[in-house]
Symmetry: C2
Subunit: 343 residues, 2 copies
Amino acid sequence: MAPQHAAKRPQHFAEETVGSLMDFDFICVPESYTVGETFKYLRKNVHGKANIHYSYVIDPLGVLVGVLSLRQLLGAEEDQVLQDIMSPATLRLDYELDQEQAAKIFQDCDLVTLPVVDSNGRMIGVLHVDEMMDVMQQEATEDIHKMASISVDDDEEDKGLLESSFGWLYKKRIGWLVILVFVNLLSGAGIASYEDLLGKYLHIVFFLPLLIASGGNAGSQSTTLVIRAMAVGDVTVKDWFKVISKEALVSFALGLTMAVAISLIGYYRGNAYNVGAETAMIVAIAMVVVVMFGSLLGAILPFIFRLFKLDPATASTPLITSICDIAGVFIYLGTASLFLVFD
Amino acid sequence: MAPQHAAKRPQHFAEETVGSLMDFDFICVPESYTVGETFKYLRKNVHGKANIHYSYVIDPLGVLVGVLSLRQLLGAEEDQVLQDIMSPATLRLDYELDQEQAAKIFQDCDLVTLPVVDSNGRMIGVLHVDEMMDVMQQEATEDIHKMASISVDDDEEDKGLLESSFGWLYKKRIGWLVILVFVNLLSGAGIASYEDLLGKYLHIVFFLPLLIASGGNAGSQSTTLVIRAMAVGDVTVKDWFKVISKEALVSFALGLTMAVAISLIGYYRGNAYNVGAETAMIVAIAMVVVVMFGSLLGAILPFIFRLFKLDPATASTPLITSICDIAGVFIYLGTASLFLVFD
């Protein structure tokens, strides 16, 4: 039997799968060949082939059964049969596998090329690690964009910032911005419901931007840590309790530190209205609660999105910030109305 | 002359350079060898060596002069001299090169291994593309963390979210959070300076969270687009004018769309104070100006950081958001005080 490309290629490869990225420039040899026959075949066929670091060994049905590196061939005797010296081809990629998962496999296995098989195990191509570098870059860019509330359309190619058109950039950005406008209106509605309080103690407004922003800042940090840890495979859904409980502790400490930083200023500004101690208390309590709320929301949301089969990176920092704004208004002004007397 | 590892290794390799990542498992052959001699040498030396896809050809001083792939060797005649069949080793990495730049070179060149040389051009090691996958992942994580105001210490290894200690997480996050507290206090000071206006037209406060947040949201998007484009090499410092002018156009369109979305609500709420038209006008104008301010700040800041040799990713979304908060207060309340009469 003459060596040959083993199987008929499937006709269509879905976007962002191994099939769409694989290379058909590879060498297949039958398991019955000797080392000598293999070398003769290689010498005759290497011209025009770029990838001969590995030869893939197939059975008569074209099913991938083993792998041979040139190193193994060079170290073997002329009359040995491939079957006896080949390594089993345990690492193989299904052509339908998602490119991101393929990249993770390459990262773990230290190989530069992996064989690609069809559903019958027949050898149909090879995937090279350099394709994976582009995949990793592209996936990181998509995540980073999503985390800043920039829409990512999987079907469209990112041409880069310089080349992309005005209309494309507008479309990528306007959707989330308008959604967030309406989310942020709720903060305004929250403020409006405390008009009586603010009418009497206007100094309370002084701390409002700070308190609502602090929740968003802490939440941006925690959501970023969790989303990235999920993306690189450090954290999976089953780790949720460990992540959340650690975040509760850390965010309590962060909130406390920040509360100390501003309660003195609260005392000073409140004094003008004869409510110095109350104001110091209000801003300190509100700061701890707001920072913990933002941090825990930021840590939980990626898990919830993943649970609903959505990309965790949808928990963008502007989304967290906007939700924290609303919560911050109610937490802060709610706390204030507990400690301050007004009609 | 017997083939040998060419040069004495430099004694110390700095962190995050090619030298710290390279591998010493490579094959060097003198340029005077024939193909036959080379094969004999390979057969004797392949055991224990993992990386023999390329043989590196050196001159008598150990200087790298060429590269030979096994494919080239297999395709050549036994008595040809390496000098005559080798490819010039044009792609070589200096051992002091930054790992991030090495990753870019790998991405562009389609090779799985590159030779590493010392300052005299002597061959001292090889770098493999799989090391670059870890580098790319690590660099992306660092950028993503910085963009969320999480400190990145280059000397410390990131153990991952699950493994890292309470104290380490606290330290990574508290610095920027406290800095941002004081930045956000300026927003409060801005509000305080318009106490008279707000005392008379309290409905103006209703739109305050929305307007300051919108600048931050648009700014988060633009800074993320620019930082990421710089990281992947799409945009360099010399592109600043093209980027900023495009951002001016896009952000004007974004601001206009968002202004339309809220000016109706502005009219409705202002009516209660008999200043419906004025309020609609104020929120619309402020929205366009705030969104343009945030977007342009977000686009310019990474260029400025780069100019001062700082990491562009220092232009974090919380930093942009906080600066936009301050600017938003003054832009919005300043516009309001132009259109509304108060004492």
